[in-house]
């Protein structure tokens, strides 16, 4: 008998149907992956199972009994646990103290917790020091604490929502191994992901969701990854070519060799020169610590690193939104360190910032207004806006960059993330002059079609002679798109790999601070 049975589950948010008639069996002892693009309903499904939301229709059965949790507390009581994308740990308390939170009855027994932690360490390889403070732990270790917290109560079902998004490669391997261990002990695991490579490594069965519906559920022995992709996207991505395939890890394993054979290999003169860049945050903590980097014309330089090692600060400084504490930045002969955004734009720098909503666009304004946000005065007479001229120019730009919206006058918020990002690219790549492009996490949260478009744009810009700096937390993406990869660790570049020498293991080692090649 299946552990969890969902039948006819439906969830609506207003007029939007997030889940539509979902019926699904989760067997005991299986790792069941939920695959789908953003907005497919994966997280909503998890939240229904964990009692965060309540379904508008349909029923759930857990271990043969009706299951209708009115909140997470009830789900926990029935043995359903969940690790969210955002952790719920108290940073200035120890691991053991965090594990006692919410679980302790009247009397706290630290000794019991420590004994239980030792058991879990032996069973699953979940090693962690009980006395370590949470804020001293890496993201991967924090996640491990979350998982321990879940396993303490000996649950029947473990739900993991996009757990690998924040991890570095070796941590991902460890997490997937833990999932297998949990399943081996007869518990079930629901793992949400959009990374195809992970599925073939860990799943027993996979369910593909698209637009709130189940497209198919397949067993993984002998499954064809490409057909899963087709179900997920709703079209064949064969045409997408090897770059996209490698970038989203369709092959399910590390690409043996770099896929970007086309395009210039020998970069020209330097367009961006960063020397000894230092940035201290308001508390005096160095976030960038003597970073030096050169990007030449016609090359894409990738920056790999675990998030929080200075990538965000580097992006802000290049965008003119933060002033470096020390160091020089030269673009095409002009010094742009500590310049205003306007001066940086005038020097020929295009910026695709990592936070699209906070920095790249104003979602309440129209698409046309966003496309010409930096050139509001361009379409005006005597200070009054010439909206029809702007609309025309916007339409041309939208056509050229395939920004899909019913009109240039609809609000930016009504566009999908992919079309928003295409609009941002359109604006930044239409700057004149333009010699250098920063693309920070350019595909985050986008669907496959948009990811493909973003890659094509970035590579076309490179082929036109631009220098491109690509900051990304997706290693596969960097390896597929970059001509050269530099690894950032604690605000410094700790190593560099040339095209042809990319290796997941080598980059992973450098990302975690181990000596470089």
């Amino acid at each position: 008998m299946a552990l969890l049975e969902l039948s006819g589950l439906t969830k609506r948010f207003g007029a939007f149907t997030a889940l539509d008639d979902i019926s699904l069996l989760i067997e005991r002892g299986e790792v069941h992956c939920l695959l789908g693009e953003n907005g497919a309903g994966k997280s909503t499904l998890c939240n229904l199972v964990f009692g965060v939301h309540r379904p508008d229709g349909g029923t759930m059965t857990l271990a043969g009994e009706p299951f209708d949790p009115r909140g997470p507390a009830e789900a926990l009581q029935r043995g359903v646990v969940m690790v969210h994308q955002h952790f719920s740990l108290v940073p200035n308390m120890s691991v053991a103290e965090n594990l006692m939170l919410g679980r302790a009855s009247a009397v706290l027994k630290p000794q019991d917790i420590i004994v239980r932690m030792e058991q879990l360490a032996a069973e699953y390889g979940l090693e962690i020091a009980p006395e370590a403070r949470i804020d001293e732990l890496s993201v991967g270790e924090r996640q491990r604490v979350e998982i321990i917290k879940c396993l303490l109560g000996d649950p029947q079902l473990l739900v993991l929502d996009e757990p690998t998004a924040v991890l570095q490669p070796d941590e991902i391997d460890a997490l997937l191994a833990i999932c297998r261990q949990v399943a081996l002990r007869g518990k079930s695991v629901i793992l949400v992901t959009h990374k195809l490579g992970e599925i073939s490594r860990v799943a027993d069965r996979t369910t593909v969701l698209r637009q709130g519906r189940i497209i198919e559920t397949v067993g993984m022995e002998g499954a064809d990854i490409r057909s899963l992709v087709r179900s997920m996207v709703g079209r064949d991505v064969q045409s997408a070519g090897s770059v996209l395939a490698a970038a989203v890890d369709i092959e399910g394993k590390t690409p043996a060799k770099p896929t970007n054979a086309a395009g210039p290999v020998s970069p020209g003169e330097a367009v961006l020169q960063i020397s000894d860049l230092v940035y201290r945050d308001p508390h005096g903590v160095p976030r960038l610590d003597g970073l030096s980097l050169t990007v030449g014309t016609g090359e894409i330089v990738g920056i790999a690193g675990v998030e929080g090692n200075g990538q965000t600060e580097l992006g802000l400084i290049l965008a003119g939104l933060a002033a470096p504490s020390a160091g020089a930045i030269v673009v095409g002969g002009t010094s742009v360190a500590a310049c205003t955004p306007q001066e940086i734009t005038d020097a020929g720098v295009g910026i695709v910032p990592e936070d699209r909503h906070a920095v790249a666009c104003i979602k309440e304004l129209s698409v046309a207004e966003n496309l010409f946000l930096g050139a509001i005065g361009k379409f005006s007479r005597f200070g009054l806006l010439d909206k029809s001229a702007r609309r025309k120019a916007a339409q041309t730009m939208m056509r050229d960059f395939d920004v899909r919206a019913s009109s240039p006058d609809v609000s930016m918020a009504s566009l999908s993330g992919g079309n928003q990002q295409k609009a941002v690219l359109a604006r930044e790549l239409s700057l004149d002059p333009l010699v250098f492009l920063l693309a920070a996490q350019p595909t985050r949260g986008l669907d496959l079609g948009a990811i493909e478009a973003v890659y094509n744009r970035i590579r076309a810009a490179r082929d036109d002679g631009l220098g491109v700096l690509l900051i990304s937390s997706e290693l596969e993406e960097l390896m597929a798109v970059s001509d050269r990869i530099a690894v950032i660790y604690r605000g410094k570049l700790v190593g560099e790999l040339a095209a042809g020498a990319f290796s997941r293991e080598a980059i992973g080692a450098m990302m975690s601070g181990h000596a470089h090649v």
Binding site: T340, P341, P353, A358, I362, E364, I376, S380, L385
Partner: protein, 364 residues
């Protein structure tokens, strides 16, 4: 604070078609409901309802004089309201209309009494108006500067600046070496001398006894200019962008601090102009509480207009007439004018409350 909630604003925008009739219906119905409650209160005070209504109507529009006086009140309210929506375009909430009126009125009086009276070609009243406008602009711009430089919340700074401006006016009319008129006879109230006739605003209809003055034309021009700037100019778009998302605007090359200060300066300037017009158009001498309540009524007018210049005109007329009526009701029918203040408050609550309700209905 419906205006400040981006989610609601977006919903309202997305659902504009369905809301158009509601946007007209809601204020009308709420006004009627509020006035109905007002009548109940009048009954409760024991006064004759019929008498009260008669006195109220008479005060609002019983004669050319009363109509003119009502519109004159509406002029200053409209200017303060325009200032409010100008600042709110940049997502700034200027609640300091009272202080900006006070500064504008005080310095316009000073200019009128000291030097402007002898100027030719209408400069006699234009100069004091300009001085009043600048005074209000400085008062508003100060809050903008604090916001841009130190991040001080403009709601707090404009409010506190009002608490400084009002005693300044009091001080100026208390001190003989400032604006207080010299003691010449038995009446020695703390107020300024009457401004020279040449500095008084010319009347539009001097023959029929209506006090309606050219402030009406100034206000009309201000309405058109503010409407153009907010809806159709590059400046309006920049203000909006800065207000919606300062970081993205800065990235796009806008000097966000400049626009914050500018928005508050213009907003304060409109309030200052309103104050100057009150003195030069109708009151003719400065008293310590000459601005009483106009700043806050103007703020409410701005709030209820939901950012529309036309809405400001309607709101200002409504409040201008209500205020005239209430003053007369108190004098003739002995009904406390507080009843009308209560009605005003009810109108605000009903309109704001029902707007939220209608918006919510559309979302879900």
């Amino acid at each position: 604070m419906v205006l400040k909630n981006p989610k609601l604003a977006r919903v309202a925008k997305g659902a504009r078609l369905e809301l158009v009739p509601l946007q007209v219906l809601v204020p009308v119905v709420s006004t009627i409901i509020a006035l109905g409650i007002g009548l109940l209160i009048i009954t409760a005070t024991g006064a004759s309802v019929v008498e009260a209504i008669e006195a109220f109507w008479d005060g609002m529009a019983g004669s050319d004089f009363n109509i003119g006086a009502s519109i004159n009140r509406a002029i200053s309210l409209a200017l303060v309201g325009l200032g409010f929506i100008f600042a709110s375009r940049a997502n700034l909430t200027n609640v300091g209309g009272e202080g900006q009126i006070a500064m504008g009125g005080m310095l316009a009086t000073a200019a009128a009494l000291h030097g402007a009276g002898g100027l030719p070609l209408g400069l006699a009243f234009i100069v004091p108006l300009a001085v009043g406008t600048i005074a209000g602009a400085v008062w508003g711009g100060l809050a903008g500067f604090l916001k841009a430089a130190r991040g001080t919340n403009e709601v707090i700074s404009t409010l506190l600046l009002s608490f400084i401006a009002l005693p300044l006016v009091y001080w100026s009319v208390e001190s003989f070496h400032l604006l207080r008129k010299p003691i010449s006879d038995v009446s020695s109230l703390p107020e300024s001398a009457e401004i020279p006739d040449s500095t008084k605003l010319p009347l539009l209809f001097p023959d029929n006894g209506s006090p309606l003055h050219i402030g009406l034309l100034i206000a009309a021009i201000a309405v058109v200019v503010v409407w153009l700037v907010l809806k159709h100019s590059t400046l309006g778009l920049r203000l909006r962008a800065v207000g919606l998302n300062a970081t993205a605007s800065r990235r796009a090359g806008m000097r966000t601090s400049f626009y914050v200060i500018l928005a508050m300066t213009v907003s304060g300037g409109l309030g200052g102009l309103g104050g100057a017009i009150m003195i030069l158009g109708q009151q003719f001498y400065l008293t310590s509480d000459f601005s009483s309540g106009y700043g806050f009524d103007g703020l409410v007018v701005g709030l209820l207009s939901r950012g529309s210049a036309v809405g400001v005109v309607i709101g200002a007329l409504l409040f201008g007439f209500l205020r005239s009526g209430s003053i007369n009701m108190e004098i003739s029918a002995h009904v406390p004018s507080a009843v009308v203040l209560i009605c005003q408050g009810l109108i605000v609550i009903v309109i704001a409350g029902s707007a939220i309700l209608t918006n919510r209905k559309v979302t879900r």
